[in-house]
Structures are given as C-alpha cells and as structure tokens.
C-alpha cells in the first residue's frame, strides 16, 4: 500500500560543480582548473572526475570476459595429483566433493563458498547492479549500495583455491611417491578472480544514487534553504 522511495536530503556535490578527490577526499571547485581539459586536485594533484569515466562500459567488458572464462575455470582441472597408486584430476567442484567425502566438512564448505559461491555471486550481483544503473532505476538504492559493498568485501577470498594449489604443488613433490601439479583450470580461475576484482573497482557506486536526485529535486531544494 505504501511504497517508500528513499529521497536524498541535501545537495549533491557534482550538481554544485564540486568534485571530491578519490585519493585525498578534498572537495574542490570543478571550475577552478577550467582552462585545461584535465582537472587535478589542488591538494594531491590526482585527476578529478565527476564520475568514473566509462564505468558502465568497462565494467560490462570485464564482467562478460569473466563470464566466458568462468566456464573453463570450472571445467578444466585445477590440480593434478599423481602417486604410484593412482592419478586424479580435480576441478574446483570435484575437489570440494573429495574434501566432503574424506570427512572435512568444515573446510569443504569454506572452499565451496570461496571458490564457487563467491565468484558466481560477484558476477550476478555486478550484472544486476549494471542493469539497474543503466536503466536509471530508483528501486532499492540502499539495498543495491549494500550489495556493492558486499561484492567489494568478499571478492578477494576467491583466491583461496589458487593458494591451496600453489602450496600443494610446491610441497607434494616427492619423487615417484606423490606429485601435485597445477592444472590449466587454475589459470582460468585466477583470471576470473582478477577480472571480477577489476570490474568491482571500476563500478562507480554513485551511479546507483544519481537517478534519485531527479525524483527528489523539489525536496532537497526546499530542504537547503
């Protein structure tokens, strides 16, 4: 019955021609260095941008590449274990299942979350954020802002499997008894992690809030008398 759309109270820096520096946070007048095309922060001389340039396009490019590489990352083996007894190739998923069967449920869950859930969550969340931003959606801005923060927070943990493979491949090198090698899936998986990290850095969360100020123009001009 009652739909609450969060309205923005107060002025928006970029509407007043002010830019905040992403390095030092100083708010400065955008018109100040107006003669040249490149504006720099008066304090630290970082480049100033109204919004991250081409944020959406770059982010899409990174996300789509990550989606494509996500397939080999999950299908190719990331680890090959050989001993004189047997030889096995593990993909990420089969590694998790193997851990589960050997009774290490806790660790199996951690690896499952870090290597399978987190990359998938990041891809889907960033896709949703990009779509909503492109449509200039005003829906649930707070929830989308939180979603973005979560993406930023959890992204790095996907590197877990890469480190496990690195350690095992270095340690288990005992002549004919047992050897572990990293598989090509590790390269693809590493690429997915790196691409999604770049994508979430490239996404500009201010785009989530920008469409809202159109809705609330009257409100905040009234509020800032």
């Amino acid at each position: 019955m009652r739909r609450v759309i969060r309205r923005r109270v107060g002025p928006i820096a970029s509407e007043l021609g002010l830019h905040s520096c992403h390095t030092c946070g100083l708010v400065s007048d955008a018109a100040d260095g107006g003669h040249s095309h490149v504006q720099r922060c008066p304090r630290c001389e970082s480049r100033l941008h109204d919004r991250t340039p081409n944020s959406v396009a770059h982010c899409w490019a990174l996300i789509i590449s990550a989606y494509i590489i996500y397939i080999p990352a999950n299908l190719l083996p990331i680890m090959e274990t050989g001993s004189f007894m047997d030889y096995r190739k593990d993909t990420i998923m089969s590694g998790v299942i193997h851990l589960w069967h050997t009774g290490s449920w806790g660790i199996a869950t951690i690896v499952f979350v870090a290597s399978i859930m987190v990359p998938l969550f990041k891809l889907i969340a960033l896709t949703l954020l990009l779509l909503s931003v492109q449509r200039r959606s005003i829906w649930w801005p707070m929830q989308r802002a939180r979603l973005y923060r979560l993406v930023e927070l959890v992204g790095r943990w996907s590197m877990l499997d890469i480190y496990v493979v690195t350690l095992l491949a270095a340690l288990v090198q005992i002549s004919s008894l047992a050897t572990v090698r990293a598989g090509n899936g590790a390269i693809a998986f590493g690429a997915v992690v790196v691409l999604t990290m770049f994508a979430s850095m490239k996404f500009d969360p201010r785009l989530i809030w920008d469409p809202l100020r159109k809705e609330s123009d009257h409100d905040y001009y009234a509020a800032t008398d």
């Binding site: 923005r8 002025p11 708010v27 100040d32 304090r43 496990v164 690195t166 491949a169």
Partner: protein, 213 residues
C-alpha cells in the same frame, strides 16, 4: 579562491555533500544517505600505525625466509617457503599464476609496509617526505591486492588436505604468517589517510617545507 568550501566532504559512494563534523576519538562519520563510512577519528594514528608496521616488517621477513610447511611421506621430507612455492609454480610452467601469487602475497605486502614506513617515519619526526601524493595514490591502487589473510586461510585448507596422506611439519613461517595477518589488519585499521593529508595541509600552511613548483 583556491579550495572552495574547506570543511565539506562528499560521500564517495553517493556524492552527497556533507558538512564535516568533529568526531570523538574512535568515532566514525557515516553518510546519512547511503550509510557509507566517510572518515574516522583514530587517536595517535601515526604512532600506532608505525608500531604495528615495524612489527609486521619483522614478521614479514621471518614469514618469507623460513619454511611454512613441511611434509613427510614414507620417510622422505619436503618443505617449502612462500618464495619457493612461487618459484616451483613458475618452474611447472604456470607463469601467470606464479606471478599472481607472488604479487599478492610477497610483493604487494612488502610494498605496503615499505610505503608505510616511508610515509610515517618522517611525519613522526615532523618532516614531510617527498612525493606523499604519489605514495598515497600507490597505496590506494595496491590496497585490494594484498591478500595475506586469504593466503593464511589457504595454508589451513592445505593442512587439512595433506593430513591424511602425510605427516605435516609446521614451519616457523606458519606462525609468523598468522601474526602478520593480524598485524596487517591492525595497520589497516589504525592507519588514517586523513591524518596524512592534514599534516600536509598544516605544513604547507605554515610556509615551511613548501616544495618549489
């Protein structure tokens, strides 16, 4: 007119312009629109960060020199330290992954610690190190890529994976990595970039140390 409104901050997540308010020690300013944390008041930030950083440097050296883990299968032993693991991955032809691991666990943490010392030590002695802006920009860029805490979890997962097939010999570096993880988190929470910029402002206002342009 130089810097226009000197005591305003713009939220980095929603661009709302807010008036800066003083905070109690340990306080955090939060954006009233989107809830992003804007700035913190960290008392004695420089001293604390320096203490944590110097301890972290010592642990970093130990963590990289000594073996992390060793295993023993039927009487044959093998141990590795982090750099050895990176090198063995390189030797197996996994160059990209080897570089990725080397960057995120060896080089970037080292760079973070080195830049911290370079920034904070002179500031504590009331001097201004050259190139603060550049260093801060570098710190910003590399910050997400230092992954010692993820590596630490990787060590634990490896322990579990190895425990059935071999005897595990924990190395000295295992403990120092644990300590390093905690100390790097402490450095990150005690370090307050605003302090650095405020120092910079104070010093250039008082007229000394102003670099010629």
């Amino acid at each position: 007119m130089g810097i226009d409104p000197p005591h305003f901050v713009a939220c980095h997540e929603c661009d709302l312009l807010l008036k800066e308010i003083p905070l109690l020690p340990g306080g955090v300013a939060v954006c009233c629109c989107c809830g992003a944390s804007l700035y913190r008041n960290t008392p004695d930030s420089l001293q604390r960060t320096m203490a944590f950083t110097l301890t972290a440097v010592i642990l970093y050296v130990i963590a990289n020199v000594y073996p992390i883990l060793g295993i023993e299968i039927q009487g044959i032993r093998n141990a590795t330290n982090l750099i050895g693991a990176v090198r063995s991955l390189w030797d197996q032809g996994m160059h990209l992954i080897s570089v990725l691991v080397g960057l995120t666990t060896v080089l970037i943490p080292a760079l973070q610690l080195a830049t911290m010392v370079y920034l904070i030590l002179p500031l504590l002695m009331k001097r201004k190190p050259p190139g603060i802006a550049l260093i801060m920009r570098v710190l910003n860029v590399i910050k997400p890529w230092g992954m010692v805490e993820v590596f630490m979890l990787g060590v634990l997962v490896s322990l579990v994976k190895l425990k059935d097939s071999s005897i595990i010999i924990p190395g000295v570096a295992l403990w120092s990595f644990g300590g390093l993880t905690i100390l790097l988190a402490a450095v990150a929470t005690s370090f307050n970039p605003r302090d650095i910029w405020e120092h910079l402002d104070e010093q250039s206002e008082s007229g000394e140390d102003r670099c010629a342009e």
